[in-house]
Symmetry: C2
Amino acid sequence: MNGDDVRSDAIEKTLDPGSDGDWASLRALGHRMVDEIFDHLQGRRNEPVWQPIPEEIRKLIAADPIPREGEGAAASYERFVTQILPFGIGNTHPRFWGWVMGTGTAEGVLAEMLAAGMNPNVGGFDDSATMVEEQVIRWMAELMGMPSGTSGLLMSGGTMANLIGLAVGRYAKAGFDVRAEGLQGGPLLRVYCSTEAHSWLKKAMDLMGMGRVALCVIGVDDHYRLQVGELREAITSDRAAGYRPVCVVATAGTVNTGATDDLSAIADLCATEDLWFHVDGAFGAAAYWSEKLRTQMRGLERADSLAFDLHKWGYMPYDIGCVLVRDAEMHEAAFATGASYLTAMERGPAAGGIRFADRGIELSRGFRALKAWMSLKALGVNAITAVIEQNVEQAQYLASLVDASSELELAAETPLNIVCFRYAGASDAQNKEVLMRLQESGAAVPSGTVLRGRFAIRVAISNHRSRREDFDLLVQTVEQIGREVIAEASSRR
Amino acid sequence: MNGDDVRSDAIEKTLDPGSDGDWASLRALGHRMVDEIFDHLQGRRNEPVWQPIPEEIRKLIAADPIPREGEGAAASYERFVTQILPFGIGNTHPRFWGWVMGTGTAEGVLAEMLAAGMNPNVGGFDDSATMVEEQVIRWMAELMGMPSGTSGLLMSGGTMANLIGLAVGRYAKAGFDVRAEGLQGGPLLRVYCSTEAHSWLKKAMDLMGMGRVALCVIGVDDHYRLQVGELREAITSDRAAGYRPVCVVATAGTVNTGATDDLSAIADLCATEDLWFHVDGAFGAAAYWSEKLRTQMRGLERADSLAFDLHKWGYMPYDIGCVLVRDAEMHEAAFATGASYLTAMERGPAAGGIRFADRGIELSRGFRALKAWMSLKALGVNAITAVIEQNVEQAQYLASLVDASSELELAAETPLNIVCFRYAGASDAQNKEVLMRLQESGAAVPSGTVLRGRFAIRVAISNHRSRREDFDLLVQTVEQIGREVIAEASSRR
């Protein structure tokens, strides 16, 4: 195949298969892919959670030159199967509990294929994909206890969703036209969060030009919850200093321990102080779907803006996050650029504007709404919620195992689906060594964190494939590795 | 099915199919989906490009309550086939040329399924998905004539990619630590673009807290290219006024007419003035892959940062955009949050940090790199480039048809893949009416724009399914509708 000998449909060049036979071959390959990717998911339990990429494959990938000539779908799929698929980060495995990642579902896999086949740009035209996204947003608002008429947008993940919420809040509460005038020359606009807030907020403050200096970080109580009294005092002293408080970022499910701020108290304070109440519910907000778990999330439904992921505790494939904004007009005012009267269309696919472009920064947008729609339609909210509840029960179970172990100790409370623990009597460095050996063993992948200055092994359970036996195995393996690490240290002394 | 009767794997609850038989059913459904989505693509030519959603389907979708109980994958797929798939925006059709959208490919559909099956969070761990993304970035840098060692990141689209480039530029050239200090109290940081720059820039200036006031909009010449002399003068007078110029945003392929700024001249000026040279090549940058078309893009390879989409003129499924940043250290410095020494890992999946999180705002990231990798491996760059060249030839062909028509007139030059024209002797309102009727007819979907104050029908060709006959049909149909609109206006007089 040379540069001129490209695919054609016998009339002109195209990237479609060139004949009915070629289409048939690709269909057959597609069937094989469905079978094998499902085999992969079905068999994950029997494989290592994570394994290092072998050196020869590392070299193969890194040395691969630009493919000027195509090798065909079958050949590239072979490469995927041998070089890529076995060496993922591992979050589809029943014993992956690192950071906070979701596992995805088989239905989600199929939905992504359909979305790519239909391939709409979901900018918000008069088309079915836009209707599906609007419907998912409506469902999400209702599931989160927010009123009908709540605006929203699906995006790549929690960070983007949080960023949008914060941007609307800043626009709403700055007291001047931030979009037109910019921040230079204006007062210091203060945003409040706790020491347990996720790092997205620092990045957002940077990107939004507010700077770290504008972020006021409030301490937490013994349960890692934002100290509301301290927050109130900070707002008062900021106002006295001539700063302008605009927004409080509360967290539903902190990344370290799964703590949830006192959302009702913060909502009250924001109402009193006329501040934007943003809730980062990246994974924790999904707990609101459960009647049992909702109590600790109370107040979340009062958010001016709420951000959360569906690829985490919603078990949908990457990537999908959602922001909900109570005041739909304000949401649009913060992002709309205004269509020219000359190009505004009364009929046709752009009639009524390109609505999603007016709710965020993106103009081209994929059809990630379909996997949300299809996951909910096919599986049902109740089934998803039941597994969310099971994950919380599993966290309690793991905490009880740690508690019962003479070698392990809990490093924090377990309010939700995150368990932090240590190999007792081992140093931070030794606990880190235990974690790395555990990850390298392929048996389980938790991640690590630092709590009150000390290292802890952290198990975040947003995994619908985990069983109790997996936590039994985790505890046994950590105990064994811990003993080895301690023994090695003793023998070196 | 009630709330307690959720799927289980006979041991505990899970969202996986509950038995080998259930997995087999889902495999069979997956095969059917592959067949039918490919049927859909193969048959697109024989369907309307776009059609309004029937009122009864609109109601069906809007009235659908939250699915508490799952109906199963097969039932939800039936809904997709009947309610969603036929009513898309239409960009998979050979005669869709609205805005700038890509068509996608069959291989891209399969790649998206595989990506969702593997389902990695491509934060930048030590895993194969990260290697694939790094490889795609390397290939892109080489294809764009940028040096090895160029940094980059894949993201949802051009707007996000442009935003990242601009943010790195601001950080690099502000003259103070924007991330720490914020913009308040600092000088007005000026960003320059032409009147033809895409609206992403206004939104980015808003979001980044610089405001519209910081954007200096320069006029264009007769070819819709930024007036470099005027730019030079603006920079000089801005400096004299105490403002701080930081970045010039040049465009490779404007959204209105496909014009490309004099990138070499702007690169020279940026070098002289120590400004960040950002190129928005949303769709146009793909022309750089072609030796024939590269001449008009010269200077693009000198960009400090370059943003472009692969779901537009790269024909990959939504969504995928890319930013390239020449100075890799600066790229990371603009976004990295710094890992705690306590959590930094020497081994395991997070050894070496989470690198992509340090190159942008997102932390959770999907495996969009796979569709780029697989499209390039399977189809080859040459085949893609040949269709890019064909699209430009088709634009020339359409322009020649318009030129030869006594009823139509060109509204702008046709330097690349965009053709703007009008029904001659008709008003702006009448031309808009022609466009809307054309869209409603299902025969073709161009969009509209405004050029020097006058409305024009705009045909943007980033479609690998279009043939010359499609442009013949377009011209005939526009002529016919134009005659009808004019006749109706006369009869109403």
